[in-house]
């Protein structure tokens, strides 16, 4: 049988990253330990190159290739650029941490690149098989990364939980996909969209399919009650990996959600909206309430992630170009904030010491005033306090929700933002008003200092001038 050579241009960034991941794996074999930095630079160069290629192949109109299984549109391009950016910063923040713990290995970076590749495939998937391919590529790399510090009991336990629960979720997602396939006879997202819209909306089998797909999505995003893995994995994994898991994959998960729910099952909106409302409400309530009780800052941020996911879902619930772009804006802003929050924990950790208890933040303002101010900016932004970017992210979502008529959801979200503000401000409180347990200032290499400063000040700068970022997200759904 013959087949047609596909158009490789739109996939150029993916091919590049794949090649580089393999190159990294091979070069790593021939490197001595003291030259491992080459790999690190190579990985950063790969991300920069991929960003360049993505911009190079960018076109305003969407392009499909590989028999329609792969789509490249504005949404995927914007999301990909942020995936590169966030992953690059993750690697930069992690470098010293990894070296100190003697896990500065080529495998870490190769796995990281494979995960990035998985995310890229995920946001560009236009076929259920491609979605699953991207998802598993990403997830498997992440499972392995969690267990990267093999002799750390907590990390291995976290990896095990992550893997088992992740497998259940993937299974459910796959189940949902196969049901949809059984009903529509196609795996193509666009075709599913048209076929589903022609079916009666109370087709019970389709609904079951939607339920299972939602369960899988909710797990990957970490919405209550599918959030159980988040605190354990965030807590147990090496902070460098936590930083990674907490940021870039969320962008990819958003992309997956848009492809599956909106592009594929858009005509069943009325049904999945109801389920999302339940997920969002529970995520916002439980995420915020449980975060208060945490004394470990990684766990606290884990629960805060859950509540942010609730907010993200609100944007999806609001639907329409407005709602989707606000959700996209929210997730991008969230990853930037998460990057700063977890990045600070990494900076504070030293060899043999994980600074992940709230107590470890005590008196940071006296130890390192500059880093403390950056952290304050990040925390206030997470709490949604103006004029930081977090406020505008919340604002955009709330506005979309209100315009969609879900007044009570908006009010509830605002009320629980109060609870949220409480524990973010507690972090600030610890940093400013408590006496430090130790007085040594935080050491960080110059590049990390610069990037952390950009990260923190970015909260303010983006908050004052958020228009271009918002416009970018709006363009994806224009």
């Amino acid at each position: 049988m013959n087949f047609i050579t596909p158009d490789f241009m739109p996939v150029l960034p993916e091919i590049f990253v794949l090649t580089m991941a393999c190159v990294v794996l091979i070069i790593d074999l021939y490197l001595k330990d003291e030259n491992r930095g080459v790999i690190y630079l190579l990985v950063l160069a790969t991300l920069v190159g991929a960003a360049g290629l993505t911009l190079f192949v960018h076109t305003p109109e969407s392009v499909t290739t590989f028999n329609g299984t792969f789509i490249k549109d504005t949404m995927s391009d914007v999301l990909k650029v942020f995936i590169y950016l966030v992953s690059g910063v993750v690697f930069l923040y992690s470098r010293d941490y990894l070296i100190e713990r003697k896990i500065f290995k080529g495998e870490y970076f190769a796995l990281g690149l494979f995960a990035v590749l998985g995310m890229m495939v995920l946001v560009s998937a236009n076929n259920m098989i491609t979605i699953f391919l991207g998802l598993e590529l990403m997830s498997l790399a992440l499972y392995a990364m969690v267990a990267f510090q093999r002799d750390d009991k907590n990390a291995v336990e976290a990896a095990m939980k992550y893997f088992v629960l992740g497998a259940i979720a993937s299974g459910l997602l796959l189940y949902g996909m196969s049901i949809i396939y059984g009903m529509t006879g196609t795996l193509d997202i666009a075709e599913i969209g048209t076929k589903v819209s022609e079916m009666p909306s109370d087709n019970i089998v389709l609904l079951f399919g939607v339920v299972f797909i939602l369960v899988g999505l909710a797990f990957k995003l970490g919405a209550v009650p599918f959030h159980m893995w988040i605190p354990d994995v965030y807590h147990g994994a090496p902070t460098a990996v936590t930083l990674f898991i907490a940021t870039a994959p969320k962008i990819a998960a958003f992309g997956m959600l848009m492809r599956l729910l909106v592009d594929g099952l858009g005509s069943l909106q009325a049904h999945w909206q109801e389920m999302l409302v339940a997920l969002a409400v529970m995520s916002i309530i439980f995420g915020n309430v449980i975060a208060i009780a945490q004394t470990n800052i990684k766990r606290m941020l884990a629960y805060s992630t859950i509540s942010h996911v609730g907010f993200l879902l609100l944007g999806i619930i609001a639907a329409g170009a407005n709602g989707y772009s606000s959700a996209m804006f929210y997730i991008i802003v969230y990853t930037l904030m998460g990057l700063g929050g977890f990045g600070m924990i990494i900076l504070m950790s030293r060899s043999g010491f994980e600074a992940d208890e709230l107590d470890d933040l005590k008196g940071l303002a006296k130890r390192s005033p500059w880093f403390a101010s950056m952290m304050i900016l990040i925390m206030l932004s997470m709490a949604g306090i103006p004029p930081l970017i977090g406020f505008f992210a919340k604002l955009a979502v709330l506005q979309a929700v209100i315009d969609a008529g879900y007044i009570w959801l908006a009010v509830l979200a605002v009320l629980f933002s109060v609870v949220g503000a409480y524990y973010y401000l507690r972090v600030v409180w610890y940093m400013v008003f408590e006496e430090p347990k130790e007085t040594a200032p935080i050491k960080a290499s110059f590049d990390v200092q610069v990037v952390m400063s950009i990260n923190g000040l970015g909260m303010l700068a983006l908050g004052l001038f958020p228009a271009s970022l918002i416009a970018m997200c709006a363009a994806a759904f224009g």
């Binding site: 049988m1 013959n2 050579t5 095990m160 939980k161 088992v164 629960l165 259940i168 049901i179 009903m183 006879g185 009666p200 109370d202 087709n203 019970i204 089998v205 079951f208 939607v210 369960v215 009650p225 599918f226 159980m228 893995w229 605190p231 354990d232 049904h271 389920m275 439980f286 309430v289 449980i290 975060a291 208060i292 009780a293 306090i385 103006p386 004029p387 406020f391 505008f392 604002l395 955009a396 709330l398 506005q399 209100i402 315009d403 007044i407 908006a410 009010v411 605002v414 009320l415 933002s417 109060v418 609870v419 503000a421 409480y422 401000l425 400013v432 008003f433 228009a467 918002i470 416009a471």
Partner: protein, 947 residues
Amino acid sequence: MTLTALLNFNLPIVALLPFVGAVFAAWASKINRLASAWVAAFVTILSLAFLAPLMALPFAGETLIQSWQWIPSIGLEFAFRLDGLALLFALLILVIGLLVIIYARYYLSKKDSMGRFFSYFLMFMGSMLGVVLSENLIQLVVFWELTSLTSFLLISYWQHRQDARAGARMALVITGMGGLALLAGVLLLGHVVGSYNLTDVLASGELIQSHELYVPILILILLGVFTKSAQFPFHFWLPHAMAAPTPVSAYLHSATMVKAGIFLLARFFPVLSGSPEWAWLVGGAGLVTLLIGAYAALFQHDMKGLLAYSTISHLGLITLLFGFGTELAAVAAIFHIINHATFKASLFMVAGIIDHETGTRDMRRINGLLKYMPHTAVLAIIASSAMAGVPLLNGFLSKEMFFDQALTASHTSSWAWGIPFLVVIAAVFSVAYSLRFIHDVFFNGEPVNLPKTPHEPPRFMKIPVDLLVVICLAVGIAPMFTVAPILAVAVAGTLQTTPPEYSLAIWHGFNLPLMMSFVALVLGGLVYFYRKRLFEWHESNVAHWDARVIFNAVLGWVNALATVVTRSFDKGSLQHASVWVIATGLLAGFIGFATVSAPLLGERALLPMDAISILVVIVLILASVLTVTLHQKRLVALIMLGVVGLIVSLAFVKFSAPDLALTQLSVEVVTVVLLLLALYFLPQTTPKETSHFRVSRDIVIAVLSGVGVMLFTMAVLSRDFSPISEFFLLNSVPGGGGTNVVNVILVDFRGTDTLGEIAVLALAGLGIYAMLQGMKLPAPDHDSHGRLWNRDLHPEIMQTLTRLLLPLMTMIAIYIFLRGHNLPGGGFIAGLIAAVALIVQYLANGIAWTNDRLKFDMHWVIGLGLLIATATGLVAMGLGYPFLTTTFTYLNWPVVGKFEVASAIAFDLGVFLVVVGATVLSLVELGKLSDQSHKTQSPLKPQQENS
């Protein structure tokens, strides 16, 4: 840039200049301690200078709006507005701010960081200006939250003091919460009006009031107002904020922070007022606050505490006036805002001076200060009298208007008759506490045990107070020539229409309001005279009531709740998590099932059942159940699992999928062997750990999931669908030259996939080999009953039999391989069969014995397989076709007959070799592992045969 061009940016400059100044102030303190005070003063004057050229506009009845696009997609403009109301507040903020800056420069001691103070101060001033000058409501909320944050910084300025930190935290929690409520309210308001610009909102009063969201909007906005302006029941943060330096209190609690809420009431007065909800909520909160504040103020021993409660009370008064909802009441409210700002700022400053010069604020100790600081005493007496509402002072005028309005309001409904009485009671207390402030501090004997000897403060510390007191007098004596113009403009700005007729005259003749003032003054004096007994009663009955306790209790309660929720959800247990995931899936499925009326099953007729199928299914169910129940005995469970697998392959046979059946059969065998090898290293039984409850719960969940999945499968299968198999059935012979569709798909249609898969299989085999090299695991040398392992590892009979089996199985493998393209079979299955044949040899004869006779290395087999498969593809490319294009022809073999040769068969050979190689390699390595481990673990055992 010309001046007119600059004028277009004036309003944002007025509001943003202090923020820029804050940076300079912080920087200046590094050069000189006092430099930051000069920067602050200069910036304030500069802001005033930028405001000055615009002042004529409101007086001319115009509203100035300067706006720029900010975030167009969410309707956020960077927009400023100057009307009468905004002008009044901007002037109050700037002028009183300037006075406080002068005052603070002398107030702060050498230990205090000037840079930090003035930096925070300017940021706060900028935020306040932003609030009052905003045209866009979201922008207003942004500045509103900034006032909460910056006031937090100011209140907690003395960070080393626990009370300062606690007070600041309370203020931030309460006002920050209110700010978020306000945000929600504003969002709803914008949703109703369709714009966030005040101009549009102020023009849509009727629309808002008739909208169903009016009440939620009102409540949310009022939450913002009440928390900020310390209205009941949120009033308790204000006294605790007194831990701030006195200049901060003087600024925050006279003209700014707490007035922001009042400002908002005035701002929304034209659109939100007039409804019964407004009257009850605003009026009710105002009245209660007025009474509570006035009462509590009398009993404070701390000078600033007294002023704090009096502030609460006066804010209540203003709120109550707005609550009356009439235009004249609004006039009185605005008037009182001005008056309160002036006399309260001066009183706070006086309190600060006394604190500064005596070292304490306890009114039980600072007595008789008149002779130590006469100048200050005169100022304080005038300002307090203004607070009490003594004639010829500004407080009297607005209080008269207030009494008048209270009397008017008493006619509005049958419930309202009590208002004038309650109002007079509040006024009585107001007089009493003012009297106490004068009498206790400046008269009443000699000071008690003061840390410092009191004397007059530096001259410049008094000048701001002088100025404010002069204003009190000037407004009180000649209102028409002083306050009238700005009041008129502010009222016009508030009401957004021409202001009503009102009189600012001092003398209105003998009327009821004057009587009320008189009664209040007399009774107030009496109350103060009998204060001792009242104090005793208060101490024993009321003093222990503190809203702070409730506040802390709420915080504690939230924390406790969080802990409880955490304990029940955050268990870190995998089983717990899986239960949640599955149970929620079930629940969601059930809800979907229950809420949709469409039938579950489709229209397809069900297939008939036969006895054998039923029997097989029963065995399958039994085997599955046994696998689960016997899982603690691992070997038995594994055998049961094997049974399950075999029956599944039978099911494939039943549904006409012999290929799958064969594959399943061979995979099953290999898997069981693999698991056996792994089980060797594990204990034979697992301990029982789960409780009865958990087991029964899990049974329920499992059964429900099973039933759910069954219903589901039936739902899918009972509907018509068009399978894609038709395409392959049609194209298998013409396209791939084989009648076995499965095999044609594997080696031809999806040849590239298969190539990828065998590459993975090859890698997996090599990976297992690499990982197990030299690995030793602790292996048990006896079973759970203490019996040693059988020493006769390779029984004779088995050896003999398996040697017979090898050629037979190889023949079958070749047969299956060759017929694969047309009949069930193919490289994959043949590979598995051949592998099993070899594995059996290894099992029966030992690894060394078999390796001796098996002269080739499995690595080569794997490599050869991959090479052949890839070469097939490359040959096609060499001939100019795409990779892995196949062709086929028919040959007549001598014995076999007509035989079809497809190039795919070469590819299939590659598959065959890889499967054999990878399977044998990995299983043998696992086997070696047990061999090696066993030897190291039990050296006492006799040397084993052939090893």
